[in-house]
Amino acid sequence: MTKTTIQTPLIELNRLTKSYGDHIVLDQLNATVNEGEFVTLVGTSGCGKSSFLKLLLGTEQVSQGELILDGQPIHDEPGPDRGIVFQKYSVFPHLNVRENVAIGREFEKKGLFGPVFGRLFGKERKKALEEADHWLEAVGLKDAGYKYPHELSGGMQQRLAIAQALIKHPRILLLDEPFGALDPGIRKDMHKLVLDLWKKHKLTIFMVTHDLHEGFYLGTRLWVFDKTRHDPHAPERYGSTITFDLPVGKTDHQDYQQIKQSFDKSIVEAA
């Protein structure tokens, strides 16, 4: 983005490189992201968009360069400053819906046994569950509070996973293909929900998606990950960079077509 801001950026990428041995996945990424932005990451499979999300999440570490959150190098393991919603398995099957959300508060319990068992009792528990109800209402799951995750549809489970993350007020919310497994109709509802939540709670969101249209429709900023150089004899030699960094909404149709073409081309190549 060329626009200059007086805000200090929330996230900074300085010549960020990620490699596995000789295999370079991400090559010298530079970018800054401000608080309140909604960045969607698109690209073909194997382009490194998921690797980048894992770097943000802390399950993978930067190989070279820097990834800065709030002026500090990002933690090397997942923490409460970064919320996550995976495509699947991000809710706890043995807890009901309210407990699934309240558990984020239970983990904060101090004292002798809190850090050991992470469990609240009596008044404290009631308060945490009431707070959970508030977030469940925000994601439209108020009536399902006493259900277990297996009784919920895929879309409802993703709503629950979002509520779980939001109760911790994370600095950034990471969405890893959150709607990939949902039906198109449900997906539309979820888009609306995420946009509403983002506006209302001033979230900073990174969302990985393989759905280009989703990338254009949601968010304020679109990052396209792709390789700029390609060696057919040694495909692992060059990593991806951010080939497009577009403010969404002002994008013209030509850009969309151009990106879509490069997408289709690489799909044909892959096949």
Partner: protein, 271 residues
Amino acid sequence: MKRLINQTPSRPWLVLLGIIPFIILLLTYQWGSEMRKAENPRDKLLPSFTEIHQAVDRMAFTPSKRTGEYLFWKDTQSSLKRLFTGIAIAALIGLVVGLLTGAIPLLSAPLTPLVTAISLIPPMAILPMLFIVFGLGELSKVVLIVIGITPFLIRDLYQRTKELPSEQLVKAQTLGANTSQIMFRVVLPQLLPRLLDAVRLSLGAAWLFLIAAEAIAATDGLGYRIFLVRRYMSMDVILPYVVWITFLAFVLDWLLVKLSQKAFPWYHSAK
């Protein structure tokens, strides 16, 4: 006419078809018994149902002339006590070690090879050692059961812990959980129903080790009695004892299923 693989019996037929083999088995037995009795009325190999009934009456409903105890019930009580103690200890060790090695790589590194090695020792081969070390009392019998089934339980629960989706563990970390809280709130509750499954699978082995230990050194117990009356070729006692052991094994298995369904409904409906 449908293909054979597509034909399923209706409910009443299902029950009937299940019972028929048992009836055939009983009738065959009776026929064999009568054949042998016709040749030699004092034959002991296949006692008639009347003789078995008398033996049961003598063992279960008449006080022993020597001690005044009802031997059948005394044997049952002693055996079940050993079995339950052994299984309880093994389950506890299996759960704790399986959980810790499955969830903490630094503990798995030194413990997993050891557990694998121990699990390969044939427990019956070290039974004499147990008698030498722990004496001929209750302890050595319980220890044999523990040694016999604990390695299996540890390895099974280790595997079940590993199978929990890593997304859940990452999610818990983004909700602020520390290692201990993840153990107690995320992993342990999900392992409990899997522990019951593993115990069910190890019940057969537990019975085997119990009866083996009782056969060699005991003064009461179901296994002890069977091996004692073998000297008098008392098939009339052995047969009902075997049926009784089978029945107890069946009931235990059934109780574990029911307990699991009652205590962990989320586990059973999610499958």
